[in-house]
Symmetry: C3
Amino acid sequence: MQFSAAQIALLINGKIEGDANAAVGSFGKIEVAGAGQLAFLANPKYEEHLYTTGASVVIVNETLELKQPVKSTLIRVADAYSAFASLLTKYQEIEAQQLSGIQEPSYIATTATIGEKVFIGAFAYVGEGVVLGNNVKIHPQVYLGKNVRIGDNTILHPGVKIYHDCVIGKNVTIHAGTVIGGDGFGFAPQADGTFQKVPQIGNVEIEDFVEIGVNAAIDRATMGSTIIRKGAKLDNLIQVAHNVDVGHHTVIAAQAGISGSTRIGNGVMIGGQAGIVGHLQIADGAKINAQSGVTKSIKSPGGAVTGTPAYDYTSALRSQAISRNLPEMEKRLKELEEQIRQLLAEKV
Amino acid sequence: MQFSAAQIALLINGKIEGDANAAVGSFGKIEVAGAGQLAFLANPKYEEHLYTTGASVVIVNETLELKQPVKSTLIRVADAYSAFASLLTKYQEIEAQQLSGIQEPSYIATTATIGEKVFIGAFAYVGEGVVLGNNVKIHPQVYLGKNVRIGDNTILHPGVKIYHDCVIGKNVTIHAGTVIGGDGFGFAPQADGTFQKVPQIGNVEIEDFVEIGVNAAIDRATMGSTIIRKGAKLDNLIQVAHNVDVGHHTVIAAQAGISGSTRIGNGVMIGGQAGIVGHLQIADGAKINAQSGVTKSIKSPGGAVTGTPAYDYTSALRSQAISRNLPEMEKRLKELEEQIRQLLAEKV
Amino acid sequence: MQFSAAQIALLINGKIEGDANAAVGSFGKIEVAGAGQLAFLANPKYEEHLYTTGASVVIVNETLELKQPVKSTLIRVADAYSAFASLLTKYQEIEAQQLSGIQEPSYIATTATIGEKVFIGAFAYVGEGVVLGNNVKIHPQVYLGKNVRIGDNTILHPGVKIYHDCVIGKNVTIHAGTVIGGDGFGFAPQADGTFQKVPQIGNVEIEDFVEIGVNAAIDRATMGSTIIRKGAKLDNLIQVAHNVDVGHHTVIAAQAGISGSTRIGNGVMIGGQAGIVGHLQIADGAKINAQSGVTKSIKSPGGAVTGTPAYDYTSALRSQAISRNLPEMEKRLKELEEQIRQLLAEKV
């Protein structure tokens, strides 16, 4: 697709300086972009590149004062970065929406219901009773088990696997290799040392506008539902156990893990590789530092913790700092002991 | 499938109160179950729901004393939860066994041997010389490399990948996206800073009744076998390196990792995100706390450890508690130093 | 394939003792190998097996002095282990190169360019504009998005997914289930508590001779490239975030995670389950211990760190050792306090 500077200015409500007919077909970083590319300049640190860039069009902040002549067409907006990002988003949406039709071979059960403008890639498996909304994009090699429901505009990247009876909302994006609805890890220990599997007959419900990264695992509930609420964002390789409830607009970084039945509030931030034990309550807006091991509920909204076992962020940092000086502290203690020993000896 | 209260009572050795012909076709939680559903009540905390539930049949403990009239048919058993769980297990087994036949398109090498009542889903790949026992269920998009052997009644969920020459026992369940038999991570450093790959020509052997979660990685041995023994249960996203030996009925929680050649005993419990370095011995019944980093063998059976590096659980908890008070301890130390300084000064 | 002792001796520059016509067709460990198998003896600890092994041919060190008669044909070389490993490597390369042709059904876009002696397995997806070099092996169920380029001799194991526009070098090996080029985790917080996705329009570039394990996640750059440089080796379940740059011949163990825009130098060693926060610089040759949480750049080449937050390896070990004795230290402090209290009391 080719766009003129004038068309772009219209989309982002910008003011053109230079050739309004300059045409671009792709995006580039300002320092390497060439003819036919669109770049942006937000950080004044990179201003020098504006005077040498080969980009045909550059989006800049309206407050920018030029120090040298510029060859590119400029589009001035209130916030160059956010204008550029929203353009990119629109571009990707348009591109995604162009995908439609059914590639062969794919497997679509006769009892499945398929909305309009749906894309189903080659080697995708759409099971019995599956319902796909409008504009759903099922990439190659995706698996949808019996009775899975997928809302409008949702994108499932290659190789996503969704077990039977799970429900995915609208405008959800799930990245390649992620598995939704595997059995929760429930085994009842028996007297003879073996385990009896606890059947996992619940499902997973993922609400609208959720995004989940690559190769993550969201287990189905034992009974009821494991829930990922509206607008939550989960990174790669994350573990969400059975019956967990993740609040809306909560963000979870890569490789974090949440154990069974824990309820995470809204707007919580969970750092990478953090772990949370089962059956806890994490208050709204809590901040859990990377690699923390949370063993107790966080009750106060916005509470921040770090460490394993995790506790109050500020106290923990202070203790961590002192713990680095333990050899020094040990030395001071020895000196005191020696001094006291002498004082006591002198008394005799 | 529909079952009458009488049929269910027979299966779980229960005593009926109410309409023995009440029919159910699915399971539900007592607080939300409706007509045609089977629920259970085990925890007295939820007894109130028994008097309002819409469930047609409810399994209860034989000791339960009713405080109000009940509309549902009751089935009294010694242990309501375990009766319900065993019913569910039977139900899922029946459902799984109904799956059979070969979906198209799938790829089955002419040299593969296929048992009776086998299911092979669409887009599954069954390589040269593969042997599938009876009742094996190979879900869509599974890959079985050359000479893989799969025992009777084993279920491989969608997208499982098993490299050549690996051996999977009977009644094993492996969840979606898990990879069995990838190359162990072996690279010999060379004088010039590069690495020579150490070929990994062993395999993986998984014994009977093992269950492995979603997106896990069990690497093949350099030579010989990486072994997961009878009845072990592994959760999602677990790493098991080359030549590891996991004992029977050992349980490993999500995102834990075990480095090369380590031998884990029988009945060991390994918490989530724990890591164990290579070439260790972990005694039978050992307990490794979540997020621990185990750097030494655990020699005493039943030994419990926590922390990184991990050591004795009780001592570690005590040290962790004190380490939280380090700022306080540091203050006390300073006070002592000041007092001693004064005492010494006074002496002069 | 069958080889005679004479052929093998020629390949590894060895000297035969015994029957030069002894034939072998597979490899075995010396303690269990049987007729028709090739074994090696490198570690003198296992010498006893040399006198009882059933292996037809055994590779040994040239310095070995026999203490008993041996039935197997021996091949003496300078370094038995490395000779055996290089034989295995050659064997696996020959085997891999025998794979060629296109299995059906597979999906190959008409605009894709396919080199010579390429293998494309069943259910593999080769998108628009993809370029495959010579001898490339695309195993079953692999996905290659639009414009992906794969260099000569590269092997993609079953189920690997590579998103559009990523570039993979020559002689690269990527194991099953790994996803290259998923979206970086970028979401700009909005005033109303929601998040706006930051489009990820860069790609991933993987240079020659890289090997990546099972079920790993290497995200595409926001703009520009996430880069894994020549000869780097990454283990299973690793997370590499957007815009990370991993230096050449760096080794990363399983389940480690690297956050966005961090630059890892050359020849760095990163232990299992370690985490590195974003926007750091890790100097060449740095050593990051398993489970460390690196929160600051490592500036000195070869610097070693451990702990969370990570700091100098040697100091950290010392502090960790003392922290185990905290209960003891606390007791000593109490005693001192009591003694001082008495001294002060006596003064009055």
